[in-house]
C-alpha cells in the first residue's frame, strides 16, 4: 500500500517534469524557423530589412519606388554606363545567373535592376539601350542624387565621383560592387560581393528563396 503510493508519487513527479519539457520541445520544433541556408558566397540577412521611401525613375520614365520592388525577387547592381570593366562584368554575370536559373526551371525568374549612380550622364533613355543589350528583361533605374542616396544609404552602397577625375565630362565614379537581393516584400534580403560567380549566385538564390518560402 505504502509502496504503491510511493510509486505513484514518483510517477506523478516524473511525469510532471517530463511533460512540460516535451511540450516545450514540441513548441520549439513546431514554431521555429527553418534552418538558415548554407550559402556558397552570398551573405544573407536573416531579418530582411524593409526600405524607407525613395522615388527614382525606370528606363521607361515611370516612377520607381520602394513599392516597385514588391511582388517578385530582384537583384540590383549599382554602377554607371561610362564604366567599361566592372559594370559589364557584373551585368554579364547576372545575365548568366538568369540563364542558369532558367535552365533549372526557376519560375518566375528574379528581376535584374541596374541602378545608375551617375544621373548627370545616364538618362532613362541611355539606360534602356544599355541594359537591353545584356537581357531584354533587365531594368534600368536612376534618379536625382538625393533620391539615389535615400536608397543606397539603406543598403550600405557607396558611390562618388573619383578624386582622380580630370574634368566634368570624363570623370570616373567609384561605387560599391555588391549585388543586392530584394525579397518579394521588397525588403533587403542578401548581398553578393565581388568576385561575382554566376554559379554560386544562382545556387545561393535558390537556397535563399526556398528558405524564405519555408519561413512564411
Amino acid at each position: 500500500m505504502l509502496y504503491s503510493k510511493m510509486k505513484s508519487n514518483i510517477a506523478t513527479r516524473v511525469a510532471g517534469r517530463i511533460i512540460p519539457v516535451l511540450a516545450a520541445l514540441w513548441l520549439l520544433v513546431s514554431c521555429s524557423q527553418p534552418e538558415l541556408p548554407q550559402l556558397a558566397g552570398g551573405t544573407l540577412l536573416p531579418e530582411a530589412r524593409p526600405l524607407t521611401p525613395f522615388t527614382l525613375v525606370d528606363d521607361h520614365n515611370a516612377p520607381f519606388t520602394q513599392d516597385s520592388l514588391r511582388g517578385q525577387w530582384s537583384f540590383a547592381f549599382f554602377g554607371y554606363t561610362h564604366c567599361p570593366d566592372v559594370c559589364p562584368n557584373a551585368l554579364g554575370a547576372l545575365k548568366r545567373v538568369e540563364t542558369l536559373l532558367e535552365a533549372d526551371g526557376v519560375t518566375p525568374l528574379p528581376r535584374v535592376l541596374f541602378v545608375s549612380v551617375d544621373p548627370a550622364r545616364d538618362t532613362p533613355d541611355t539606360l534602356a539601350g544599355y541594359v537591353a543589350y545584356f537581357h531584354p528583361a533587365f531594368v534600368g533605374v536612376t534618379g536625382e542624387d538625393a533620391e539615389l542616396k535615400l536608397l543606397t544609404r539603406q543598403l550600405g552602397i557607396l558611390y562618388g565621383r573619383s578624386p582622380d577625375s580630370s574634368n566634368d565630362k570624363d570623370y570616373v565614379v567609384d561605387h560599391s560592387a555588391a549585388i543586392i537581393l530584394f525579397n518579394p516584400e521588397g525588403h533587403y534580403q542578401a548581398l553578393f560581393g565581388i568576385p561575382h560567380d554566376p554559379q554560386k549566385i544562382a545556387a545561393d538564390f535558390v537556397a535563399i528563396r526556398d528558405w524564405y518560402e519555408a519561413s512564411q
Binding site: H82, V86, Y133, S162, D164
Partner: protein, 141 residues
Amino acid sequence: MKHKWILSLFLALWAGVANTADTLEVDNAWIREAPPAAPMLAGYLCLENRTDTPVTLVGVESPLFEFVMMHRTETVNGMARMLHQDKVVIAAGKRVCFEPGGLHLMMPAPEKRLLAGDRVELDLLFEDGTKRHITVPVKAP
C-alpha cells in the same frame, strides 16, 4: 677590325631596340563588345616578358580611338575604383595580364559601334621608344 667593332655595336644597339617590342609575347588580346549606349570600351591582353630585363609599357594608341588609357580596377572593402596607370612594368620573365576586374585598357567608343568579329589596330608604346603593333578582335564574352 674596326669594321667588326662597328658591326657588333650596331648589332648590340639593334638587339636593344628589338628587345622590347619584338621579343615580348602578346596574347589573349580582345576588346569587349559593348551595349549600343556604352560610351566607354574596355580592352584586355596578356604580355609575357621572356627577356632578362624589365619591360615598361607606357601607353597604347589607336587611330580608331580618341585616347586609350591604362586603368586598374581595384576593389577595396567592396568599393570598386578605377585607377589610372601611367605605366605598367612587366618584370623579367614575368607575365602581366589585363583582364576583367583588374588591369584594362579604357577607350571611348567610336562613332561607328564595334561589334564582335571586328578587328582593331593598336600600338603598344614602350618606355624605350619602341612600338609593337597588334590587331585585336572585338568579342562578346
